[in-house]
Amino acid sequence: MAYNFKIMTNNELVFEKYGNEYEVDYKPGTYEELLLRVRTEVHNGAKLLTHPLSGSIKPNETPFKTVYLKKGKGPLHLDFDSVEMIENAIITAKKFKIRFPVMPDYIRADFALIDLSLMESALPAATQA
């Protein structure tokens, strides 16, 4: 069944678990790189379905972020709320200097699991929309 949402993530766990069930645009990279990828989509008209700063874990703490988007109708039809939200999210993320470029795997795994859980808390609503 084709859903009208798409998932963008830098979290391999999300891709492994849901990659074949939903459209998961997975690419490894930092939290901020993921936000910039989301911004490019938003500037091509995509609409944000989840908040880019979801979760209280700080952008410079967790390496992972997953965002739901609804595909848009091209750059001439911007969703301005989404534009403002992603721009503010990038400004906010920039306030936090990346502090853990090197992180033990068991901590990375915990962050990945929490990001997965945040993403799963939005799944029921997204699939019903």
């Binding site: 490019t40 403002e84 721009e87 503010n88 400004i91």
Partner: protein, 352 residues
């Protein structure tokens, strides 16, 4: 500890020379204090006996504002001659040109001599908005009647600045909020303050929010352009378009300077002639064709077709992000004067 030397700046009125008629007074210096300076010194010495106003520099408000560069340089030299540890200007209360002069000279002294500076004025004084984010400005009443109150607030902050003590939040050390958030302990907990604020707000009484939302003050729109066919239109951008090579090295975001460049001999911006200095977005598109950010090609066409009278020779450019950037406000104040002086009738501002 040795004596803490302070230099005080006043205008012609507070130097007892005269009012508006003496506003063209040229700068001069005088050892010791003027009457108001003596009051400030007394109040400071009550806190720290070592503090002394060793000299006063005087300049008329008209002379200062109309000969900005020469006046600044002259006043600066006189101040430097005393080798002060602290520089105080004013207080200017609601005198507009005096306030702007105080703000200008304190900022200059802070940047050039690198010593702590302090001034004071009424919050509606034009100098306040222009300088409260650059130097410490103590809020005063709107007339000299508020002198005692102003001195009572300026003296403790002056001593703190002179002795290098840590400056606390704006409402603790009595200076105008300058956009820098500082933590401090209130006497009541937050929920109690919230209830009190709610009661005031419901009763229509004045209350002070603890966090002002970003600058939402409105400026009334100017009347429309009546005759666009004869209007001089200028281009301005915060998208950071600069001549190839970024000659003035405008920084990639929240730049500390703006660029003024001529487009007199350009009908079209190309990848050879222009690029963007902005680092906040993907520069490829602008570097390929800067018209995508600064529409010189179309504006030139409209000029030739008589849709507009004249495309102004200079465009102004800097890099800012979505939120109000303190420097951008100051730049705009400055180049807007140049646009007015050049007879510009309208501005097209593009931002990324």
């Amino acid at each position: 500890m040795g004596k803490i030397k302070v230099v005080h700046y006043v205008n012609q009125f507070f130097a007892g020379i005269g009012g508006e008629e003496k506003a063209d007074q040229t700068p001069f210096k005088q050892d010791g204090t003027m009457p108001i300076g003596a009051q400030i010194e007394k109040a400071m010495q009550a806190i720290n006996a070592d503090v002394e106003i060793v000299g006063t520099v005087v300049c008329g408000d008209s002379y200062f504002n109309e000969n900005l560069e020469t006046a600044k340089a002259a006043v600066l030299d006189m101040i430097k001659s005393y080798e002060p540890d602290l520089f105080i200007a004013g207080p200017a209360f609601n005198a507009g040109r005096y306030g702007v002069a105080c703000g200008t000279i304190t900022t200059e002294v802070q940047e050039v001599l690198g010593i702590p500076v302090l001034t004071g004025m009424y919050k509606e004084n034009p100098g306040a908005d222009m300088y409260k984010n650059k130097v410490y400005v103590v809020p005063t009443k709107d007339s000299a009647a508020g002198a005692r109150d102003a001195i009572k607030k300026m003296a403790p902050l002056a001593v703190k600045l002179a002795t290098g003590a840590e400056i606390e939040a704006s409402c603790v050390d009595n200076y105008m909020p300058n956009g820098i958030r500082k933590n401090f302990f209130e006497t009541k907990r937050g929920s109690e303050r919230a209830v009190e604020m709610m009661i005031k707000k419901l009763a229509g009484k004045e209350f002070v929010t603890e966090f002002p939302m970003p600058d939402f003050d409105r400026v009334d729109p100017n009347p429309a352009v009546k005759d666009m066919a004869h209007a001089r239109v200028a281009l301005v951008t915060s998208g950071g378009v600069v001549p190839k090579g970024n000659p003035d090295h405008i920084e990639s975001s929240s730049a500390s300077k703006y660029g003024e460049y001529s487009i007199a001999e350009f009908d079209d911006l190309t990848s050879e002639t222009h690029e963007t200095a902005h680092g906040g977005y993907d520069p490829v598109y602008c570097n390929q064709d800067s018209d995508r950010v600064l529409p010189v090609d179309v504006m030139r066409e409209f000029e030739k077709a008589g849709r507009i009278g004249k495309l102004h020779e200079y465009f102004y450019t800097t890099t800012g992000n979505g939120t109000a950037v303190l420097n951008a406000v100051a730049f705009a104040k400055e180049f807007s004067q140049k646009l007015v002086a050049a007879g510009v009738d309208a501005v097209v501002l593009t931002s990324t």
